[in-house]
């Protein structure tokens, strides 16, 4: 049974993104980048680019991206969301995998 799974990545540990990519294909996987994990959204980051190419949904916390001034260095395919929307996303998914 397909579930909606959220990878909630708030640490500078790329393993979270890697495991999300290896997650079984039946589930609907979303990768959420917060805090310094938003630096992984840089177009030059191989793992995140690969996740986008695999059509995984990659989302980043807009406030954290903006503060770091990296909007123009990240892929347009990454959706930026507010803290409010982070809360909604948490409850919209069936389970959360924290990294």
């Amino acid at each position: 049974m397909a579930r909606k799974v959220l990878y909630f990545i708030s640490s500078e540990d790329i393993t979270g993104v890697e495991i999300a990519m290896e997650h079984n294909v039946e589930d609907e996987v979303t990768i959420l980048l917060l805090q310094n994990a938003v630096y992984f959204a840089n177009k030059f980051n191989k793992s995140v680019s690969q996740a986008i190419n695999q059509n995984k949904t990659v989302i980043a916390c807009g406030e954290h991206v903006k503060k770091r001034g990296i909007t123009k260095f990240i892929s347009e395919k990454i959706k930026l969301i507010t803290t409010d929307e982070v809360v909604d996303l948490i409850f919209e998914n069936d389970s959360i995998i924290n990294f």
């Binding site: 708030s10 805090q35 409010d84 909604d88 948490i90 959360i96 924290n98």
Partner: protein, 120 residues
């Protein structure tokens, strides 16, 4: 309305975790969700009293007082406080539902919330 559990490990002013916890908790409370937070390891020092306000820095004590006033539940790892010598310096229960607790209380939080996030 749903129930959110939050676990974190870091103290204030070195890393961003405390600020993120306050902001996500605050947003969740504003939306009518309930929020239960467990402070583990250095995170117990996030709720120390007398944190001086400095311009441009998010004051962590105020952040936690605000979410307490909005109804968040905060549990502090007992042993973590003891070992750090900060047992007597925490925000008190006049500010809201904040208590020293043991690790089994995290199990209760896991059991009684719909989702658990950790902020690293």
């Amino acid at each position: 309305m749903s129930k959110l559990g939050i676990l974190f490990f870091d103290g204030p002013y070195q890393k961003q975790a405390c600020e993120t916890v306050c902001k996500i908790a605050s947003a969740a409370l504003d939306k009518g969700h309930s929020v239960r937070i467990f402070c583990y390891m250095d995170a117990v020092n996030a709720v120390l009293e007398k944190q001086k306000k400095i311009d441009g820095i998010f004051n962590i004590e105020e952040g936690f007082r605000e979410i307490l006033s909005k109804g968040a539940t905060i549990r502090l790892c007992n042993i973590c406080l003891l070992v750090r010598g900060t047992m007597k310096n925490c925000i008190t229960k006049e500010a809201g539902d904040i208590k020293k607790a043991g690790t089994p209380d995290l199990a209760r939080i896991i059991e009684e919330t719909d989702r658990l996030i950790t902020i690293c």
